[in-house]
Symmetry: C2
Subunit: 373 residues, 2 copies
Amino acid sequence: MTEQATQIQPAEYAVVDAEALRAWVAAVFSSIGVTQEDARTTAENLVASDVRGIESHGVARLGGYTGRVRSGRTEAHAAPVIVHETPSTATVDAGNSLGQPASKFAMELAIAKARQTGHGAVAVRNSNHYGIAGHWAMMALPHDMIGQAYTNSSPLLVPTGARVAVTGTNPIAVAVPALRERPWVLDMATTVVPRGKLEVYRRKGLPLPLGWAVDASGRPSDDAAAVLDSMDRRAGGGILPLGGTALFSGYKGYNLSVMVDILSGVLAGSGWGVHVDGLHGSENEPAGTGHFFSATRIDGFRPAEEFKAEMDAYIRMLKETPRAEGEARIWVAGEKEWELTEQHERDGVPLYYKVIENLRAIGADIGPRFDLA
Amino acid sequence: MTEQATQIQPAEYAVVDAEALRAWVAAVFSSIGVTQEDARTTAENLVASDVRGIESHGVARLGGYTGRVRSGRTEAHAAPVIVHETPSTATVDAGNSLGQPASKFAMELAIAKARQTGHGAVAVRNSNHYGIAGHWAMMALPHDMIGQAYTNSSPLLVPTGARVAVTGTNPIAVAVPALRERPWVLDMATTVVPRGKLEVYRRKGLPLPLGWAVDASGRPSDDAAAVLDSMDRRAGGGILPLGGTALFSGYKGYNLSVMVDILSGVLAGSGWGVHVDGLHGSENEPAGTGHFFSATRIDGFRPAEEFKAEMDAYIRMLKETPRAEGEARIWVAGEKEWELTEQHERDGVPLYYKVIENLRAIGADIGPRFDLA
């Protein structure tokens, strides 16, 4: 149900074995000084994104991560430190490492605390881009817990009434186990559309629907190229929050984005708002990205088997809701991604040729060679 | 920042003293067998809504509450029971009482657990309509905690691709303390607009913007009267989720609504989805409404004074964001309600004449007499 989940069309891609891709990505990170364990953690998160059909957050971004590690802007060696804790909460300083090892550490800590007290909540400061949020929330599932993951990111969302981007895509991910049905997994940006969508419209020369983005004066714009250019120069304009303009209650998306930033940034003692630089930031300083994770024991409320059986019934209720004319299906959160995951783990992950070229260049530059496609 | 917060126009209303109104509403509940303490709790929640400018959830609904108590559909005597707990979590059975006393009990329990462990989360089953969500989230503020409150409600939201309402307005409320600035308080329905908005369009005979509601076939409709009529007969159609149609990512609002229902309904072991009846349900059985509350100690993560000073800076960043052409102000969540609260506590609460007529009728019927306007 993530907005970016798409089925890539044939002729644009080659298919690559998922496990071989994980191994190669991990080897690349090892080549630039990341420990084997952290390299594997980061590779699993990036490839999970491609496997789930969210190619915007997958190996297409590998060069961004490696570039930052090689330039020293992100630390190769992760050494997350618990700087403060109570039985149910903790703050972790990621030491400006890759976001993925810090996130795994923090979510494992949240799960351990939930096992002890019923609920664990862990905020992470001084981190970097952590890949897809859903991957971290889903760590709670095998423990019969509800997982949640938030992160802030570099500014691109323009608050209702403004003309400058202040918060990031600031996603919300929630994973809930079921019994026979597949877990319910929400992973959504709090913007109305992802940045990648504007890039597609620019490439195709199509006018944007009014309500997705505003120009440097704050007016709704249909010109993807102009908006992206202005955003990249930090000259104003950007993407509207979930809901778009005020007509469709865009201020709710704006405030959800702020809520994610309060938990991930302010509560963690990390960067927030316009101070978060993110993966594509141009300045030569730490990103200051913050995250927030929680794990909630289901049997802190009611027996887990009972709950999971009722989640099955809930999911069936959604699937069996009478459909609007012309609609083939009511989608359940995460369902599309589960179907793509099965397909891609079995038949291989489709990667765009331009992504493959990119991976070849990274392999030639850093090693090892990319010869999976 | 709540969608319903509006400034009532003169000539449509009379002004009533807030404290006198609370006392009268409490006296009405006492007249029908509710204990003094619970009557006061319920009155405070209802009047808080009017005071905050959200008249849709205020004393205008009093007759709905009293009608249910008098018919025995809601129990007059609240006896909330903790049916399960861990150090950080609990499930409370409200015993089909008014939602307000059960909510106060549950939020106090969440705060007590947070004081012990850093985080408290309490789910409530077998409850009824609890009024405005923000009121409960805000209970955390004096304790330097972040409060959250969710509830499910009777079906009126049509999931993306469907033609029948499955979930309710299912609001999300989050309250965050600041130091000198007023607390940041989000209180938002997960529908694109509240039901009351459709009622206003029906009354004025105006066409609905396409993207707010669908008719019984699931097609976007501009006919408020037809949609409301069809909804009320449970014949299909209803309000679209936050985001509206797929073009503005309405599936995100749909899934946020489901998330609220999973926490409030499934996790609590209460009613969920189409099984929640709500205040206006016609069947003669308990509403089965469920709620979910949490309290998070700020100093479970970092010193509270530090955090609150940084929230001040965050709020100022939002207020000072360069405005779009023609915009007078960037609103911060809760700001509008704080301003109205100050005004209404000082100068009195404006009540529509038709609401006053209603209160007079309740006073004549149940007692005491309503003579505040």
